[in-house]
Amino acid sequence: MTKKDKIIAAFLVSIGMFSATVAVKYVSALSDNQKNGLMSSVKSTDGIILIADTVIDDDNKKNIG
């Protein structure tokens, strides 16, 4: 895994999207262009993304704003 791969995988884990195992599998299947696209997301999120886990949302989630 390259450093970039690790950063992307860590990002996907940190927002709750995938487990580490699944994130590594996902990243390994990406093209360089796709990885570069995801890196731009990593840089702009500042760790405030949560996965919304219901179709309908409410105000019960932690303050992320």
Partner: protein, 295 residues
């Protein structure tokens, strides 16, 4: 005995919308339903009795139902303590003043969520997000954007949203339901993620009412695709007495899997989603029947 309280009531107030997004959970059969008078009366009674702290309205597009929303919330016994939220497509926010005017029309509004992603961007410019954010800032309302994604690659849009402001952003995988299913744009998981087995229903501390369906703890696959008498009921009390509600309140998905006698090795990547796994367990593995006796 006093009526049991629940902090949040989510209401799908109607399924009409001014957009027709490719990933919408409503399909052509379910896209023009409005609450009937008896449904509104039932919601009013529930709110009067249970005084939920928060009412959250979604659609369809809730701003097509402002009068109905205000009618429902008007029966809250402590309106000064009531917090109302909406999830909107923000199509009306063409200018700052247009955004403010609409937001002002909903009584007790505190929270605004705007859906903006590659699907909504086919109908609304990103400048509407900017107007909505500015309006919420001016009106001291909390503001978040929900970004629905077909794949993690769709998160590229977030960098554009970040240029507008530091509001919260929630990323939501597209459910394999309604138009999303028909258009094959639902989120694909690369492998089965076992973490789901430790989780509970994300809605277990809430109650939802979906127009034409009824009260349910579920606001996803089972509610939209399942039988009314099992997964949704005419009254909240009836629903809370159901085996389905009891199971969803108490059991993790790992426990539910054990009840139906399956092992994690039998699960597919799409079962990484709580809602997809739940749908599989109840509808494909017979949990609706097994749960009543084995839980």
């Amino acid at each position: 005995m006093p009526a049991q309280r629940f902090p949040t009531l989510n209401v799908v107030v109607g399924t009409r919308c001014d957009f027709s997004c490719r990933h919408c959970l409503f399909d052509s059969k379910t896209r023009s339903k409005d609450l009937k008078d008896r449904e509104i009366a039932s919601l009013q009674e529930l709110i009067r009795k249970r005084a939920p702290r928060s009412l959250f309205f979604a659609g369809g597009e809730p701003f097509l139902y402002v009068a109905t929303i205000n009618k429902i919330s008007s029966t809250h016994p402590c309106p000064q303590k009531l917090s109302v939220g909406v999830t909107t497509n923000g199509g009306f926010a063409e200018t700052l003043s247009a955004a403010k005017e609409k937001l002002t029309s909903i009584d007790h509004l505190r929270h605004v969520r705007m859906s903006y992603d590659k699907f909504h961007s086919e109908f609304v410019p990103i400048s509407n997000v900017k107007n909505m954010f500015a309006a919420c800032e001016a009106m001291r309302l909390s503001f978040r954007v929900i970004v629905s994604i077909e794949s993690p690659l769709d998160m590229g849009l977030i960098s554009e949203l970040r240029k507008i402001g530091g509001f919260g952003i929630e990323v939501q995988p597209v459910f394999n339901i309604g138009r999303a299913r028909k258009n094959a744009v639902s989120f694909s998981y690369p492998a089965f993620d076992r973490r789901v087995l430790r989780k509970h229903c994300p809605n277990r501390k809430r109650m939802a009412y979906v127009c034409g369906k009824g009260f349910s703890i579920c606001c996803s696959y089972l509610l939209f695709n399942g039988a009314k008498g099992i997964y949704a009921h005419k009254t909240a009390e009836e629903h809370m007495r159901s085996n389905f509600y009891r199971l969803m309140k108490t059991a993790s998905f790992g426990k539910l899997l054990k009840i139906v006698g399956r092992t994690p090795e039998t699960l597919l990547p799409e079962h990484s989603s709580e809602c997809a796994l739940c749908d599989y367990l109840f509808k494909r593995c017979g949990l609706a029947g097994a749960g009543a006796t084995n839980a």
